[in-house]
């Protein structure tokens, strides 16, 4: 329960500038630190993606501007460099952008505000969860300057490629830095997840029962549980790989391997073991990357269709079901890996089951919009964009869940299409919508709606132009992670369509400049807003914009659920969860 503001002021800041803005224990400052860091990493990850696209459209030609950064190749992307590009693109986007932006930035900002608490349960731990990301930033950043320009065994780091120094230029120091970097990300996530669970269980305002929590909070809660249970397995796996690399153990190396005329290894291990450990974390990680987005989209859709969320309880249960099933489907990444095909059958069935709660969510979102009084704001457009893209990503998932079809499309661009529809079309569009939606609460000013709509329009069209054709590439059998596929006769015809995709990707990159300008410009010139510019119901809108230390200037008492929009008994079309006392 929130305590009086003055009594616990020292909880949130150590005196002085550093204590106030840098090593702050205020969840909002920490959330903003996460937000800015992840946006900057997002630029890096995006540029890496554009370099990948450049190579696929104009293989071995000099890349303009960025090509000069690596003089050795004279601006031309070498095959080693290309493997680094997609490895680091994925690593950065997953571990430094999507996960920390959802959980770190929005989890931090929204959890205490939406449950009516003055801060997180453990403010110091919360501060550490941000600063422990810095060793990871530095380690991964440093790996760019090692041999091979960085780790190059894919973000999945499958041994033996990732363990044998001689197997690839990037499998030397860079791979060790990568493992250590990811370990720090894991520690940060673990600190955050413990804090989120405790806060949501212990610090809800009076009247805020679990079944009155907004979907955003439910999804953050379930995500925190997923993190807490899945991460230790990844950490164990990472340490085993580290030990194989540094101490010469053989967890993942069978006997007698010799890559690149290197010495033969003693072995005794199993490469598939890593894949099991890795996907036991990384499949739940897929849900860690989509569930919070689903939660935020639910809140935004209900607010801007001015209508209660359709089927609140089934929505909560679906999230729980997705998370629960998420722990027993990791093997669907390994249908073709050499795992026992009988085991594949059981993973196929659990995977098919996951389409069920996902379907319920999709139909409930559609039903929320149905007969609503839809307000076409930028956050709504991004949320509907999320829905439209998530449908494609969900449906393409059925192809690969069917094991025989997966034989053909596994490790082709069909897979790349699928997860970009879920992660870019899904998570990133939802995150952009969430930034537009909560920006006024974070900074007390509105972002420009006009620029926002232009940003959405271009982003939505270009996203589809980049990622939709990947389905067709995949159907043609185009393999992933190929620096130059066109010397195969079967793939030679695919060059023009790749060029269209690359041009679209470059334009998509430029479009984000509109967003950056809007984001930065609005910090200074945006229209100032009051507490509740969107006329939304959830608790954060009862606090001042931006909220000061301790969040609420009154004790919020929750008297209803979060989605009481357009109630016929009320004069206005929204009923906030807690009444704000008159100023």
């Amino acid at each position: 329960m929130s305590s009086p503001q003055n009594a616990t002021a020292s909880r949130w800041s150590i005196p002085g500038f550093l204590g106030h803005y840098v090593f702050s224990r205020d969840h909002k400052i920490i959330g903003t630190q996460f937000l800015f860091s992840t946006l900057i990493w997002g630029v890096a990850g995006g540029l890496l993606a554009l370099a990948v696209r450049w190579q696929l459209a104009w293989p071995w030609s000099d890349m303009p501007i960025f090509g000069r950064l690596f003089e050795a190749e004279g601006g031309q992307i070498s095959p080693e460099f290309y493997t680094m590009l997609f490895t680091m693109h994925a690593t950065i986007m997953i571990f430094f952008v999507i996960i920390p932006m959802l959980a770190g930035a929005f989890g931090n900002w929204l959890i205490p505000l939406m449950i009516g608490a003055d801060d997180m349960a453990f403010p110091t731990l919360n501060m550490l969860s941000y600063w422990i990301m810095w060793p990871a930033f530095i380690l991964i950043g440093a790996s760019f300057f090692t041999a091979g320009y960085g780790p190059s065994s894919g973000w999945t780091a499958y041994p033996p490629l990732s363990v044998l120094d001689a197997a690839a230029p990037g499998s030397g120091v860079a791979q060790t830095l990568w493992i250590l970097g990811l370990t720090f990300v894991g520690i940060s996530s673990m600190m955050g997840s413990v804090n989120y669970m405790t806060t949501i269980i212990q610090m809800r305002a009076p009247g805020m029962t679990m079944m009155r929590l907004p979907m955003t909070i439910w999804s953050m809660f379930i995500t925190a549980i997923l993190q807490a249970f899945a991460l230790p397995v990844l950490t164990a796996g990472l340490f085993m790989q580290l030990s194989d690399r540094v101490f010469g153990t053989g967890f993942f190396l069978p006997e007698g391997l010799a890559a690149n005329n290197g010495i033969q290894v003693a072995g005794g291990g199993q490469p598939l073991l890593w894949q099991h450990l890795f996907w036991f974390y990384s499949h739940p990680a897929v849900y860690i990357m989509i569930l919070p987005a689903m939660g935020m989209v639910s809140d935004i859709l209900a607010c801007f269709s001015r209508k209660p969320l359709f089927g609140y309880k089934p929505m909560v249960y679906s999230i729980c079901a997705i998370a629960g099933l998420g722990f027993i489907v990791w093997g669907h990444h390994m249908f073709i890996s050499g795992m026992d095909p009988i085991l594949g059958v059981s993973f196929m069935i659990s995977t098919m089951l996951i389409a069920l709660p996902s379907g319920v969510k999709t139909f409930n979102w559609l039903a929320t919009l149905w007969r609503g009084n839809v307000q076409f704001t930028t956050p709504l457009l991004f949320s509907v964009g999320f829905l439209s893209m998530f449908i494609i990503g969900g449906l393409s998932g059925i192809f690969m869940a069917a094991t025989p079809v997966d034989i053909y499309i596994h490790d082709t661009y069909f897979i790349v299409a699928h997860f970009h529809y879920v992660l870019f079309g899904g998570s990133i569009l939802a995150l952009l919508g969430a930034i537009y939606f909560w920006y006024p609460k974070m900074f007390g000013r509105m972002m420009s709606e006009r620029l926002g709509k232009v940003h959405f329009f271009l982003t939505f069209i270009l996203t589809n132009m980049v990622f939709y054709p990947m389905h067709i590439l995949g159907a043609a059998g185009f393999p992933r992670r190929y620096a130059d596929p066109y010397h195969f006769q079967a793939f030679a015809d695919l060059l023009p369509i790749n060029q269209v995709m690359t041009v679209s990707a470059i334009l998509l990159g430029f479009t984000q400049i509109i967003f950056a300008a809007n984001f930065v410009g609005s910090l200074f010139f945006g229209k100032k807003v009051g507490r509740n510019p969107w006329q939304a119901n959830t608790l954060e809108w009862a606090a001042p914009s931006p909220p000061g230390h301790g969040n609420f200037d009154f004790q919020p008492v929750v008297c209803r659920g979060p989605y009481e929009y357009s109630c016929p008994d009320a004069d206005v079309d929204f009923l906030p969860q807690a009444e704000t006392p008159p100023a």
Binding site: P160, A168, Q375, F376
Partner: protein, 266 residues
């Protein structure tokens, strides 16, 4: 302006479906951008399943896209009130049960195709006894090439008359063929798009792939598991030959290889 957004979202299923149909028919400029012709007796079921799922998901894609656009169509913004509805259990049960039914059907329907391609290695009858078809070629993947070992005249591997060809492997038409696949360094994956065959090769494991090619021709083999910087160039050719042509090739190549190895011994 509101209806412009509605139409924008409607464009997704319309253009999306058109593009796929266009690619299926292979009209310019999308010629050759769909599944290549299947030449494997075991691959037909995979294509059948792919097309079935394409139909099912296609219908859902268009349906949900149309509903999404419709929900946004009547919006006039601010002038009217939204319906005050919290949910509808009957509806929710309907849209949970119908997809569940479809998925259960798909799960069961595909089991045979999976078993044929990954579990039940083909059998042959020799001297009145059924036995598994023995591997006729041992494929060894290494960074970044494919080596193909033939057992030689005695039909047994690991004997002195084994011989190796690289870059190209020959198999007879209309016969179940089993390859034993191995890796000498990192993970690789044996992928022949036209055969619908793919199997990751794990060093230290004994693995097999099988197929029965029904059309003579040259088909490309590609590695589909990241194996290092040269991953993209790790290709080879699988040549399917009429039985008599294959016999001639096998005889000539055997003779040639044995001659070479004898010249080394002398």
């Amino acid at each position: 302006m509101n209806r412009v957004w509605s139409l924008l979202f409607l464009l997704v299923p319309i253009l999306g479906t058109l593009l796929i149909v266009w690619a299926i028919f292979g009209a310019w400029p999308l010629a050759g951008l769909w599944l290549p012709e299947n030449v494997n007796e075991y691959g037909g079921v995979i294509d059948h399943l792919f097309n079935l799922i394409l139909w099912i998901t296609g219908v859902i894609f268009i349906g949900t896209g149309a509903i999404l656009a419709l929900t946004m169509w009547p919006a006039k913004g601010g002038s009217r009130r939204a319906a005050y509805v919290h949910g509808n259990h009957t509806l929710e049960i309907i849209w949970a049960v119908i997809p569940a039914g479809i998925l259960v059907f798909l799960s069961i329907y595909q089991l045979n195709a999976w078993a044929e391609n990954k579990m039940d290695r083909p059998v042959e009858v020799v001297d009145g006894e059924e036995r598994l078809v023995p591997p006729s070629v041992r494929v060894v993947a290494r960074q970044f090439d494919w080596d193909f070992f033939y057992p030689g005249p005695d039909g047994k591997f690991d004997t002195v008359d084994d011989f190796m060809v690289t870059g190209e492997v020959h198999v007879p038409k209309n016969q179940p063929v089993v390859f034993q696949i191995e890796s000498s360094d990192v993970l690789h994956s044996f992928f022949v798009p036209s055969l619908r065959v793919k199997q990751d090769i794990v060093p230290g494991m004994k693995q097999f792939v099988w197929f029965e090619a029904n059309k003579a021709g040259r088909y490309e083999i590609a590695c589909t598991e990241l194996c290092g910087w040269g991953h993209y160039k790790m290709g080879a050719v699988l040549e399917v030959q009429e039985e008599e042509d294959y016999a001639v090739w096998l005889q000539e190549t055997t003779a040639k290889c044995l001659a070479i190895s004898q010249s080394f011994e002398e």
